[in-house]
Amino acid sequence: DAMVIQNPRYQVTQFGKPVTLSCSQTLNHNVMYWYQQKSSQAPKLLFHYYDKDFNNEADTPDNFQSRRPNTSFCFLDIRSPGLGDAAMYLCATSRDLAGNQPQHFGDGTRLSIL
């Protein structure tokens, strides 16, 4: 089935040690998103790619970066994770930016910081 796949499902890293989370999609969608979701909160958009165009949310910390080498893959890089970065990270896609196109979510990567 076409889907959004996130690897790994669980990631543990040390305080200050760079970490990369991965997302792939078989939907051939133009837009890919990264969200951060902390416990008992709604997801918070970090940034999105429309094709190769990167769009950063104004309040996303510089510590968070993203790469999209091709249509199928998108990576979230956290350069120096702090304890406050422990969260579920969700990847989503949409066909385009039209309002009637829903976003399709992966199952997320739960990041723990030691």
Partner: protein, 114 residues
């Protein structure tokens, strides 16, 4: 500016009884509204969407929602709750203006009692 308010942070019902999850929206024009469900340690799954077509929207798993402009509401209902419906539910409005940014409600945790 668009926003959504979920009126209950937690709803508890017995299996086989009706479910009502309440959502009010604020929008300066006709909004695109969604309901997403999130099971524990999973991503978000689209239940249904309203994009200015029929005001009564049918979704997956027996859920439906009615868009009421006069009441600025988009409540989610299901006639008979099932144990598998226990999850977090998010009412979401799409922020327009050419960027597909989702604005999430605070979430409602649905508990199903046997």
């Amino acid at each position: 500016a668009q926003s959504v308010t979920q009126l209950d942070s937690h709803v508890s019902v017995s299996e086989g009884t009706p479910v009502l999850l309440r959502c009010n929206y604020s929008s300066s024009y006709s909004p695109s509204l969604f309901w997403y469900v999130q099971h524990p340690n999973k991503g978000l799954q689209l239940l249904l969407k309203y994009t200015s077509a029929a005001t009564l929207v049918k979704g997956i798993n027996g859920f439906e929602a009615e868009f009421k402009k006069s009441e600025t509401s988009f409540h989610l209902t299901k006639p008979s709750a099932h144990m598998s419906d226990a999850a977090e539910y998010f009412c979401v409005v799409l922020l327009g203006g050419g960027a597909q940014k989702l604005v999430f409600g605070q979430g409602t945790r649905l508990t199903i009692n046997p």
